[in-house]
Symmetry: C2
Subunit: 226 residues, 2 copies
DNA sequence: GTCCAAACGGACGGTGCCGTCCGTTTAAGA
DNA sequence: TCTTAAACGGACGGCACCGTCCGTTTGGAC
């Protein structure tokens, strides 16, 4: 059995190293929330009371830092999916999953940015975890549709539509804006079966790979420079 | 009467200067679309076949460049608002405004980024143009509600919710994704009066200032560094 | 053709961030 | 206590971008 604290702070590290690792992650979340996901690495190090070299030794790339910093949120997402499936009411399960994921995005400001950044690409690590998550999502959707609660033309990728558009709002607006909640409410209402009036444009071929619901996902360089 | 071409390319400029100004704007749209709104100024200059100094002389700040580059789209937005008001069918007018604005965001990639960047802040220039746009928006919304087509709890700021969330999708996903269209369809359906089922969370106190529908808006530094 | 103000563009100094290198400190086992 | 590998952190070279300066070119008026 692996020791408890090492699961969180990192295994096989010297006591001081483990302590610093923890400080770095706390600082990273704070700095990312305040200055965005692209804040200078040195700022995180300073905030953590640590030299840059120490930070780089533990997290060789920005990517690794971001992923580690938001690992907890990723796990919460994954847990929410499991709980959603366990809900006896199919619609309520679906609804709660959407709401929980969006709430996480709102709570930890940087998480949203990490979310979009991570979005469509993915590495192969933990492939089986992601596959299971994708299967679970499909099940959740199918089940809610079979119950006549979720509209029949809802496509699993519409979950990504909801989460990414919510992300956009969270990123664009100040922390306490009411707008993101409004968006979620509007979307959930139009996802209901009885809201289906006109036909929808065809869904994206896009898969769900990279959604943090799988408790692991990789980062992506978005708007590339020069 | 002002000469025609000078209205587009800039008045009172020497022939070569006017030509370069046009090239710069074309290049800027291309570069912003390809590399994002934060692409190096020098890249735009190179693409335009022009020295950096020339670019800086015409557009002293990145802001000025972005605004000039997307001025046409801004005007199209403003025109769409006027046309929406002119539509005898209140709902169709409303719907078309949303669709037109979103389509513009999709067409010119960089415009979305400019849109969010510009969002809540605004300078006072052309204050009367913006005020008129805000009044028109209110009228459009009220009229659609009075006709029983738009749900009664729709708040004018929900227009910003729609446009900004759509922006998020356009920015996060590759150009040809179907997701943004799906989002618009879902939102428009839930904006219909008959879609109103549960209560919505309270709307934002946020005004519409800065929406490009006013044909002028200023830029904003988003996630601040350091 | 002449002239000059306007326009041009390459070059350059300044700044901020990256990621590594290396001499110093320290945890922890013998 | 002694030893040593692990961890530390400041400093540094490299790089990309910014925005200006200034010597050169050119449009267009006379």
């Amino acid at each position: 059995m692996v020791e408890e604290s090492s699961r969180i702070a990192g295994p096989g590290l010297r006591a001081d190293a483990r302590r610093n690792r923890g400080r770095i992650l706390v600082a990273a979340r704070a700095v990312f929330a305040e200055h965005g996901i692209d804040a200078p690495i040195a700022t995180v190090a300073r905030r953590a009371g640590v030299g840059v070299a120490t930070l780089y030794r533990r997290f060789p790339t920005r990517d690794a830092l971001v992923r580690a910093a938001f690992a907890q949120q990723m796990e919460t997402c994954a847990r929410a999916l499991t709980e959603a499936l366990a809900d006896p009411d199919p619609w309520r399960g679906f609804q709660r999953l959407v709401e929980t994921a969006c709430e996480l995005q709102r709570e930890e400001q940087g998480f949203s940015a990490a979310f979009v950044a991570a979005f469509p690409d993915s590495t192969v690590e933990h492939a089986q975890a992601r596959e299971r998550a994708e299967r679970d999502l499909m099940t959740l959707v199918r089940r809610a549709q079979a119950a006549g609660a979720l509209r029949a033309d809802f496509h699993p990728s519409d979950l990504a539509v909801a989460l990414l558009s919510h992300c956009g709002l969270v990123t664009a607006l100040p922390r306490d804006s009411a707008a993101p909640r409004r968006l979620v409410a509007y979307l959930l209402q139009s996802f209901r079966a009885e809201a289906a009036h006109g036909a929808l444009p065809p869904p994206s071929a896009l898969s769900l790979r990279g959604l943090p619901l799988a408790a692991d996902s990789s980062q992506r360089q978005r708007p590339s420079r020069a």
